[in-house]
């Protein structure tokens, strides 16, 4: 397996003038292609901070972050936009679909920014929505979908430019247990197809779907444990 993510001596300090928050402390971490990882830890331990950095939405204060061989430090905002567009799929706790915009259009969005021609876009978005089980809901608006359905649209959207990584910060946090299982089964399937998936979660049931659990406490990575699957 080849290395997808390498993080070395990475720190993140939020400096709002009066107070400094050391949100990530000396993180060292490598992630291989095709892994399925859960990030766990108490509230405020730095999980979302790490996800934002992994997702190129935020920059580390210092340290190294390499994604797919690219050094992320010193990239311009537009370069980071392009990296997010092509290499990363985001799934959020709050779904974050664009309101008053159909499921299909939502899924097309990353492809629009990637300048994929219209026909190809629609074909691919349709295929993805069918894949997540929403082939009948293409023209539905977000407010016409259930939480689980919204999250499946969000997953289809995250996959639209075929990124190597899916980042999901508490993707099941707003879902009931049956929807949670559906979503996790979908992730498992995608992971089998080769997508690297990193999920932040508070739930052991969710973490149980993954193959590796990273435990954070107070900004430090204190445990990195492979989960043995007895299937």
């Amino acid at each position: 397996m080849s290395e997808l993510i390498r993080i070395a001596n990475l720190n993140k300090i939020y400096d709002s003038g009066a107070v400094q928050v050391h949100a990530l402390k000396d993180i060292n971490l490598t992630i291989e292609q095709g892994e399925f990882i859960a990030i766990m830890g108490h509230s405020g331990s730095g999980k979302s901070t790490l996800m934002n950095i992994l997702g190129c939405l935020d920059r580390p204060t210092n340290g190294v972050y390499q994604l797919d061989g690219i050094d992320i430090a010193n990239r311009t905002n537009d370069e980071l936009s392009d990296i997010r567009n092509k290499k990363i799929g985001f799934v959020f706790q709050a779904f974050n679909l664009i309101p008053r915009t159909s499921a299909l259009k939502n899924v097309e969005l990353p492809m629009i920014y990637a300048q994929v021609p219209g026909k190809q876009r629609v074909a691919r978005a349709t295929a993805l929505l069918e894949k997540v089980g929403l082939g009948e809901r293409l023209e539905h608006m977000p407010n016409e979908l259930s939480g689980g359905q919204k999250q499946r649209v969000a997953i289809a959207r995250a996959l639209s430019n075929q990124p190597p990584i899916l980042l999901a910060d508490e993707p099941t946090g707003n879902l009931d247990s049956s929807s949670t299982i559906e979503i996790m089964e979908l992730f498992t399937q995608l992971n089998r197809e080769g997508v690297t998936i990193i999920i932040v979660t508070h739930e052991d049931d969710v973490a149980a779907f993954t193959h590796r659990v990273l435990w954070f406490e107070d900004g430090r990575l204190i445990s990195d444990r492979k989960v043995e699957k007895q299937s």
Partner: protein, 403 residues
């Protein structure tokens, strides 16, 4: 390019999903552009009406009369046949037509039952050479009519229809009754087609008939003014100076006391009035577009704030700063251009309705529609820059976290 198209679709759906607000936002631009278009179209229409009036009257016409400084006229200030002959001798080569502008109102009758008030114009021969007329039958008053003081009359097509039930009234007889009760019989020598004239329609619109000047302007009559047509290839200003000097000497007056006015003067006055109006219109346009533009900026700021989260999502999904910037710029440009377009239709509609009510053809410069829409789009872009930059500058994490 593709993104531009996507952005336009996006902007349209954003506008559609907020119809009422979009419309209220446009209102300033609609009213501004609408009033400007209305005023400009009224100006263009007036200009064309006046230009066509002068076409009827003759652009080469100059009128002279004595205007004493103390406003006391003597008999010598009036023009006699002798004066006219002298002027003809001196300037005839450059003034193909001259008369004393004998105009009167009389009653035209067929001696049986039809009778109506008409305006009569006692012309010299050759009037139709300087003032083109459209003859259906016969001819204009000619030299023979004038010289032999024949009772010849030229009438309008409508008059011919009214009195004889036919356009071809040449050779038929009509009577002119003066206010003093004199009754004289005339023979129709020509029937002409009246040109549509707005001013004539406004001024009551008596039918106009032409008769030989010699019948009314006799060697011992006096005319208040002289009415000259200047030859096409003449230096009109030089001729005017020379004429003024000549008449001043003839009438023993200073040149300042010889008043002259030409169609060109009045056209020029009209034009300067119009350009004055244009400045006023420009000021209205500027103010209303400023107000409209600020309205758009305000709404766009609200819209950017409301859609902070959406901006964050878009950025997370790979939108570049320029993508967000153009998205909002295009949205404000489209709102503004749509306002400009609606305003244009409104302005033209108002003017067209007004024109229909008073019965004139409205002139609308098609270029103005393009300019108005284009200009409002520019206003939209200009006032959209600040909100769009705010949107584009948003930090994706903060934007995603925005409640």
């Amino acid at each position: 390019m593709m993104l531009l198209f996507e952005n336009i679709k996006l902007a349209l759906s954003a506008i559609r999903s907020n119809k009422m607000r979009s419309f209220l936002t446009m209102l300033g631009i609609i009213i501004g552009i609408g009033s400007v278009i209305a005023i400009v179209s009224i100006g263009d229409t007036m200009r064309s009406v006046i230009a066509s009036e002068y076409e009827n009257v003759g652009i080469n016409r100059v009128i002279y009369y004595v205007l004493p400084e103390d406003n006391v006229w003597y008999e010598s200030d009036y023009f006699s046949q002798d004066d006219i002959d002298q002027i003809k001798d001196a300037f005839g080569d450059r003034i193909p037509y001259i008369d004393t502008y004998y105009y009167d109102s009389m009653t035209l009758s067929d001696g049986v039952r039809n009778q109506e008030k008409v305006d009569i114009y006692a012309v010299e021969s050759g009037y139709d050479q300087v003032q083109p007329m459209d003859f259906l039958y016969g001819r204009m008053i000619d030299e023979g009519d004038v010289e032999s003081k024949r009772n010849s009359i030229v009438i309008e097509q409508e008059t011919a229809q009214k009195y004889f039930g036919t356009d071809n009234a040449v050779g038929r007889k009509l009577q002119l009754l003066s206010t003093t009760g004199d009754r004289e019989e005339f023979t129709v020598v020509g029937v002409y087609k009246k040109q549509d004239s707005f001013l004539m329609a406004m001024s009551g619109g008596n039918a106009l008939v032409y008769v030989p000047s010699s019948l009314y302007f006799t060697p011992d009559s006096l005319g208040f003014e002289i009415n000259c047509y200047v030859a096409e290839d003449t230096d009109a200003e030089l001729l005017r100076t020379q004429m003024t000097n000549y008449i001043a000497r003839m009438k023993n007056r200073t040149t300042d006391e010889i008043f002259s006015t030409s169609a060109r003067d009045e056209m020029g006055m009209m034009d300067s009035m119009m350009s004055g109006l244009s400045v006023a219109v420009g000021a209205i346009a500027a103010i209303s577009l400023l107000v409209g533009g600020i309205g758009i900026m305000n709404i766009m700021l609200v819209s950017v704030t409301e859609r902070t989260r959406e901006i964050g999502i878009r950025k997370a999904l790979g939108a570049r700063t320029s993508h967000i910037l153009t998205q909002f710029l295009i949205e404000s440009a489209i709102i503004s251009a749509a306002g400009g377009f609606i305003g244009t239709l409104l302005g033209i509609g108002i003017v067209a309705l007004g024109g229909m009510l008073i019965g004139i053809d409205v002139v609308v410069n098609p270029l103005i529609v393009v300019i108005a829409v284009g200009f409002s789009a520019v206003v939209g872009i200009f006032f959209g820059i600040y909100p769009a930059r705010r949107a584009a500058a948003a930090d994706p994490i903060d934007a995603l976290r925005y409640e």
